[in-house]
Symmetry: C2
Subunit: 281 residues, 2 copies
C-alpha cells in the first residue's frame, strides 16, 4: 500500500510531531530546522527573508500488522514565515500540479505497466489555535488547493484551547469554510452501507476540523499509566485519549478507514478534473 | 498615578485577556472583534485584507489599596493579520512618535503647568509560542520600536509549552535578541541598593521574556481551591502560581515595582533622545 500526504501551515504548529505521532515513527525531524531558516536575510528594516517556500519530500516504508505502507510526506518549510506571504501558496500549487503532470505524462506512454502514483492523496492544513477564526493566509491557501486535493483542516496544538473554546472555534472555522466555498474531504456514503458504517463515518467526519495534539514522548499520568502525551505542571494530556483531543479520529480517517477512498477520489475525481482542464486548453 | 502601555502582537495571542488579568478588570474585550476584521476584502486570490493596522486607545481609572491609577492601554488590531505585513509596523511607530511630538509641543508652550503625559511608558510585545524562535515580523517590529519605548517581550499563551520547551525557547529568543541588538527594558541598579533589592530585581528580570498565561475566569483546582486559571480535561493551570507561569513576575515589574522607573526612563532617556534628534534635524 502507499500514501502521499502533503502537510502545510505556519512554522512551529507541531506538524512534524503530528506526522511522527500518526505513524509512531520518527519520520520528520521536529523542532527548529536551521536549514529551513537559512534564507533569512538581514536588511535595513530588520529581517527580510527571501520569501522562500521550499518543498521537501520524505519517503519511508512502514510496516504494521504485516502490512507494508510506502509513505511519502511532502512538507512546505517557509510557508507563512515571511513578513510578506502573498506568494507563499504558489510553490505549493506548483508541486501539486507537477505531480499531476507527471502522472498524465506517464499514463500516456506506450508502456504503462509501472506508473508510480506520486499524486497528493491528502492535504493536512494546520490552523493556528488562536481561538478566533481563519486568517487571510489560511483562506488564501485553502482556496488555491481545495479542488486539487483532499483537504483535511486540523486545529494545531489544540491543548491550547479549553473544550468550550474548541467548540466555538470549530463553529467559526466551519462558518468561514462555508462562506468561502472551501471544499473539505468528504467520504462518499454508499446506498448499501449499513447503519454501523454510516454512523462510524459520521462520528469521524463530524470532528472536522480535527483538534489534534501530537507527541511521540511517553509520560506518566497521575494515576500511573504510561501514555503518549505532554507533561505539564498542572497535568498530563494524552494523545490517544478521545476526551483530550481528536487525534484518534484523524488517524482513523487517514490510515484505518479512508486511505483507499482518499486515493480513489484523487484518481477518479480530482486528477480527472485536472486532466480534462489541461487537455482542453 | 498614571501609566500608558502599548500592547502588540498577532491576533489571538491572549493580549486582551492578559491586560484584564494584570489589572483584574474587564478593560479590553477579548475574543473575536468583528470590527477589527471588517477590512478583509475578498479578492480573486481569496482574502486580501486592506493591510490595515488600527491604533485603539482604551482609558480606565483603577483603584487599588486606595491608590488611583489612570491607565491607558493602546492596542494594535490588524498587526500581523494580513497576507503581506511588510508595513504593519509603521502605524505603530507613527503612534509612538506622535505621542512624543504632542509632549514636545506641550512642553514648549508658555503655560506648561498641566502637561498630560501620553507617551508610551511600556511596550508589551507578544511572541507566538511556536517553541522555535523569533520570526521575521517579530524582529522587524522590535527593531523599529526598541529605542523609542521600554520593550518587554512576553511569550503568549505559554501553557502551550512544557517547562523544558519554555527554557529552550527563552534561550533561542534571547540569542535572537542579542544577535539583532534589540534592547529590552532593563531597570537601573543603583549603587546604594541593598542586596535584597538587587536580588528582587534580578529575580524578576531573569524571567524575561515572560512566559505568561492570562485568565479572568475563576476555576476550581483538583484539590478544591478556587483560582484564576484555565480548566482543561487534564488539569487546571493557575495564573497566579509561579510554578505554572511568569505572570506574577510580569505584574511585579509593570505595576508593583518598576512603574515609576518605566516612566522615568521614558521621560529622561527615550524622550530626550527623540527630542534631541528631532530638534537637530
Ligand atoms: N502544545 C503542543 N505543542 C506541540 C504539539 N506538537 C508539537 N508541539 C511542540 O511544538 C514545537 C514545534 O513542533 P514541530 O513538530 O517542530 O512543528 P512544525 O514546525 O510545525 O513542524 C515542538 O516544541 C513540539 O514539541 C502539540 O500538540 N501541542
Ligand atoms: N491557552 C491560552 N489561551 C488563552 C490565554 N489567554 C487568552 N486565551 C484565549 O485566547 C483567545 C484569544 O484571546 P484574546 O485575549 O482575545 O487575544 P488577542 O486577540 O491577542 O487580544 C481567547 O479564547 C482566550 O480565552 C492563555 O494564557 N492561554
Amino acid at each position: 500500500s502507499f500514501l502521499n500526504i502533503m502537510v502545510a501551515g505556519a512554522s512551529g504548529l507541531g506538524k512534524a510531531t503530528l506526522i511522527n505521532t500518526l505513524f509512531n515513527r520518527e519520520i520528520l525531524t521536529p523542532g527548529f530546522n536551521e536549514e529551513d531558516e537559512e534564507d533569512a536575510v538581514d536588511g535595513p528594516n530588520g529581517l527580510h527573508k527571501k520569501n522562500v517556500v521550499k518543498i521537501k519530500t520524505t519517503e519511508s516504508t512502514l510496516e504494521e500488522d504485516g502490512v507494508k505502507l510506502k509513505l511519502s510526506v511532502i512538507t512546505t518549510p517557509g510557508f507563512g514565515g515571511s513578513v510578506n506571504n502573498s506568494d507563499s501558496w504558489k510553490p505549493i500549487v506548483d508541486e501539486i500540479n507537477q505531480r499531476f503532470d507527471k502522472y498524465l505524462e506517464a499514463e500516456s506512454r506506450i508502456n504503462r505497466s509501472t506508473i508510480e502514483d506520486q499524486r497528493i492523496h491528502a492535504f493536512l492544513y494546520f490552523i493556528e489555535p488562536t481561538g478566533h477564526s481563519l486568517n487571510a493566509l489560511d483562506i488564501t491557501l485553502m482556496k488555491q488547493i481545495h479542488e486539487k486535493c483532499n483537504l483535511i483542516p486540523v486545529i494545531a496544538k489544540s491543548d491550547t484551547l479549553t473544550d468550550e473554546e474548541i467548540y466555538d472555534f470549530k463553529q467559526r472555522i466551519l462558518n468561514d469554510i462555508k462562506f468561502q466555498n472551501i471544499k473539505t474531504f468528504k467520504p462518499l456514503d454508499y446506498d448499501n452501507d449499513d447503519d454501523e458504517t454510516l454512523s462510524y463515518t459520521k462520528q469521524i467526519m463530524e470532528k472536522l476540523p480535527f483538534a489534534v495534539v501530537g507527541s511521540t514522548s511517553e509520560v506518566r499520568t497521575a494515576d500511573g499509566r504510561v501514555v503518549r502525551g505532554r507533561s505539564y505542571p498542572w497535568g498530563v494530556i494524552e494523545v490517544d485519549n478521545e476526551q483530550h483531543c481528536d487525534f484518534i479520529k484523524l488517524r482513523q480517517l487517514l490510515i484505518k478507514r479512508f486511505l483507499e477512498e482518499l486515493k480513489e477520489h484523487t484518481a477518479n475525481v480530482l486528477y480527472e478534473k485536472y486532466r480534462a482542464e489541461k487537455l482542453s486548453r
